[in-house]
Symmetry: C2
Subunit: 340 residues, 2 copies
DNA sequence: GAATAAATTGCAATCGATTGCAATAAGCTG
DNA sequence: CAGCTTATTGCAATCGATTGCAATTTATTC
C-alpha cells in the first residue's frame, strides 16, 4: 500500500493536464491562473496527498522558512536544558513560530560549541536565529551581528548592542524583590546567583540598588556565586549561608530553582521560612506556587517575551529594523516572604 | 563588510582551479581525489568560510538529515509544553541527535493539529519522526505506521503496535510505588492521573496489581482523573481527597507535578506528610528532591530512553528493524513516604 | 471585422550540490 | 615500447519547485 516514490509537482501537472508552472501557480492560488484550473489542480493534489517538497522550494526561493533557536549554556554546567523557565519560553516561541508559518530548529549545548553562524545561517538551514541567554557575555553573539545574520536575543540589554535584545527588566525585578524583603523587615539579605550572566548581574544590581536606598551596607559574604540549579542553591546555602544564620534573615535568589534549593537547605535545618529567613525567587515557574511554603517571586512575562522575540525577528527578516525591549516584571507575593 | 551573496561550491571550484565535481568530492574527503587537491580545496573553502548549502544537498541526496520531534498534547489542556519531564527527555534527544549529525525540528501543539505525516515527511522536511506521548491513543500514530514513515514513539507499548515504542515499564513502576506505600503502612491509597493516556493507564494497572496482591479492595472514589499539572493535582486533592481524610493515608500520583500539587493541598490544611498521608510521584524531575518534604518517586531513565529513541530511529532509517523496549524504573525513596 | 488589450498558459532557466560515466594522464609489465 | 592498469578529473544529468518572459487564446473597442 505504501507509495514507493512520493508524488512530485510534475506528476500532479500531468494528471491535471497542465504544465508544471501552471500547477505550481495553481497550488499557491496565484490569481493569474484561471479559477477553475486552480481548483482542479488543487483537488487533484489533495486526492493524491501531494505536498510540495520543502527542500526544493527552499532551494529555489532561497528561504528556508525555518528559525534556529539556540539555547546557550554555561561552559561549566554543560548539562542539557534544565531550567524550567527555558521550557516555558521555548513553548511560547514554538507556538508563535508555528502560527507564523515557520519551522523551529532547536539547538542545545553540543552544537553550540561550534560556530552557529556558519552551521545554521551560512549553510542556509535557517533564515534567522533566536538566541536564548547571552550567558557570560558570549562573544559569538557579537560575531553574529557583524556577519549580518538576522537574529534576536533573549537576555539583558546593556544598551550598546547592535542587535535587538528582548528581556525582562531584571534590575527593576531585583529592586522589587529586595525592597519587598526590606518592607517585610529583613535586614541582612543574601544574594544567590552567577553574576557572570548579564541577566543575573542586572538582578544583582537591583539588589544593590534596593539595599543602598535603604541605607544598608552590603556584605560580600552574603553575595554568593551560584549556578542555575536547585542543587547549587541547596549546596551554597548549606555551606555558606547556614553559618551566617543568626543574622541572615532574607534571601534573594536569581531563579526559582535556586530559591527552592536554598529553601530546602534551610527547612532541613529547622530554620523557619519565612519567619526566620524570608525568600524571594525569580521567574515564577509553575512549581513556585506549589512548593511549601509557596515561593514569592518576580514573574517574567514569558508569553509576551516569546511573542516579541518572534515578531522582532520576522521584522528583521523583512528588512525592517527591530528594537530592543525591556519587559516589565511583577512581584508575586506568596508565603515564603509573608511574615506576620 | 558583510558579504552580499554567500559563496557557492562553484566559487570555491573556480578559486581552486578545479571542476565543481572535484571540489565537491574534495570537500567530502573522497579518497578518489588526489590528496593534495583535497587539501587545497579544503583550505580555500575554510579561508572563505564556505559552508555547503544544506538545502541543495538535501534536494540532491534526498536526505534532510533532520528529525522532527513531535510533542503531543491533551486536546483539552491544549497548553504549551509544561511538564518538566518533557524538557528532560527533550534535552537528551537533542544532544543525541546532534551527536549523530542530525538536526532537530521541534513541533508542539498547534502544528500537531494538522497532519504531521504530510507536513514533515511527505514534504521532506524530516527523514523521520520521534513522537512523544501517545496521549489518548492517538489514531494519527497508527496512520503514520501505515504510511510507511520511519518513526518511533515514547510511550507505552501495548505489544500490538507495528512501530517501535520506547518507554518505561510503567506498570512495574505503579506496582513499585504502591507496594512501597503499602509497606509503609498505608491502607487506603488514592490514584491521581488521567488513564486515557496509555502510559498513565499502565501506572494505574500497576496500582491495581499492588492493591490486589495485598488483598485490598479498590475504592472508585479514590481513583481520580487528573491532568498533568500541579494545579490539577492541587484542585483534585482539595475537592475530592480532603473529604476522605480520616481514612485516606496514601497517594500515588501519576507524575511528580501532580504529586506536588496534591502535597500542597494537604499541607495547606495542616495534614502531615508523610505521617497522615504518604505520597509517591512518578518521573523524578529535578524539583522532586528539593521540595519539602522531598518527594518519593519512581524514576524514569530519561537518559537511556532518549538515546534509545534516537538509535532506534536511525536504525529504521538504515532499513533495519527496530524493536520496542520497556525500560526498568527505580523507586527513589525520599521524605514524602518515610514514616517512622 | 481588424486591432488592441486582457486573461491564461507554457517554455526554459535557475537555485546549489552530488554522482554515474567517460576521458585523460600516469604508472607498470613483459 | 605497445598494451593494460590505475589514479585523477571533468562533463552533464539530476533532485523538485519557482518564475521571468514569451506565446496563445479570448475579450473588448472602434
Amino acid at each position: 500500500m505504501k507509495q514507493t516514490r512520493s508524488m512530485t509537482l510534475a506528476d500532479i501537472a500531468r494528471l491535471a493536464g497542465v504544465s508544471e508552472s501552471t500547477a505550481s501557480r495553481a497550488l499557491r492560488d496565484n490569481p493569474v491562473i484561471n479559477q477553475q484550473t486552480r481548483e482542479r489542480v488543487q483537488q487533484i493534489a489533495r486526492q493524491h496527498q501531494f505536498k510540495v517538497n520543502a527542500t526544493a522550494r527552499s532551494l529555489r526561493t532561497q528561504k528556508s522558512h525555518t528559525i534556529a533557536v539556540i539555547i546557550l549554556f554555561d561552559a561549566k554546567t554543560q548539562q542539557a536544558i534544565t531550567d524550567p523557565f527555558l521550557l516555558d519560553i521555548l513553548g511560547v516561541i514554538a507556538d508563535e513560530l508555528t502560527r507564523q508559518g515557520y519551522d523551529m530548529l532547536l539547538s542545545t549545548s553540543k552544537t553550540t560549541d561550534k560556530d552557529w553562524r556558519s552551521y545554521y545561517f551560512d549553510s542556509k538551514r535557517a533564515d534567522g536565529l533566536i538566541v536564548i541567554g547571552q550567558g557570560e557575555h558570549d562573544e559569538r553573539v557579537d560575531q553574529l551581528s557583524q556577519a549580518g545574520v538576522p537574529f534576536v536575543v533573549w537576555g539583558a540589554a546593556t544598551g550598546s548592542e547592535k542587535f535587538p535584545v528582548i528581556g525582562s527588566d531584571n534590575r527593576a525585578g531585583g529592586r522589587l524583590a529586595v525592597s519587598h524583603l526590606l518592607v517585610h523587615g529583613c535586614k541582612r539579605i543574601a544574594f544567590l546567583g552567577d553574576i557572570r550572566h548579564t541577566e543575573i548581574e542586572m538582578r544583582y544590581l537591583g539588589y544593590l540598588d534596593a539595599l543602598e536606598q535603604a541605607g544598608i551596607t552590603t556584605d560580600p559574604a552574603l553575595q554568593l556565586n551560584t549556578d542555575f540549579t536547585a542543587q547549587a542553591g541547596y549546596l551554597q546555602t548549606q555551606q555558606a549561608l547556614l553559618p551566617q544564620l543568626p543574622v541572615l534573615d532574607g534571601i534573594f535568589a536569581a531563579s526559582d530553582a535556586i530559591a527552592m534549593g536554598a529553601m530546602k537547605a534551610l527547612l532541613e535545618q529547622g530554620v523557619k521560612v519565612p519567619q526566620q529567613v524570608a525568600i524571594v525567587g525569580f521567574d515564577d515557574i509553575a512549581m513556585s506556587a506549589y512548593c511549601t511554603p509557596s515561593l514569592t517571586t518576580v514573574k517574567q512575562d514569558t508569553h509576551r517575551g516569546g511573542k516579541l522575540l518572534v515578531s522582532s525577528l520576522l521584522q528583521k527578516l523583512n528588512g525592517q529594523g527591530a528594537v530592543s525591549r525591556l519587559l516589565p516584571v511583577k512581584l508575586i507575593e506568596r508565603q515564603s516572604s509573608k511574615r506576620k
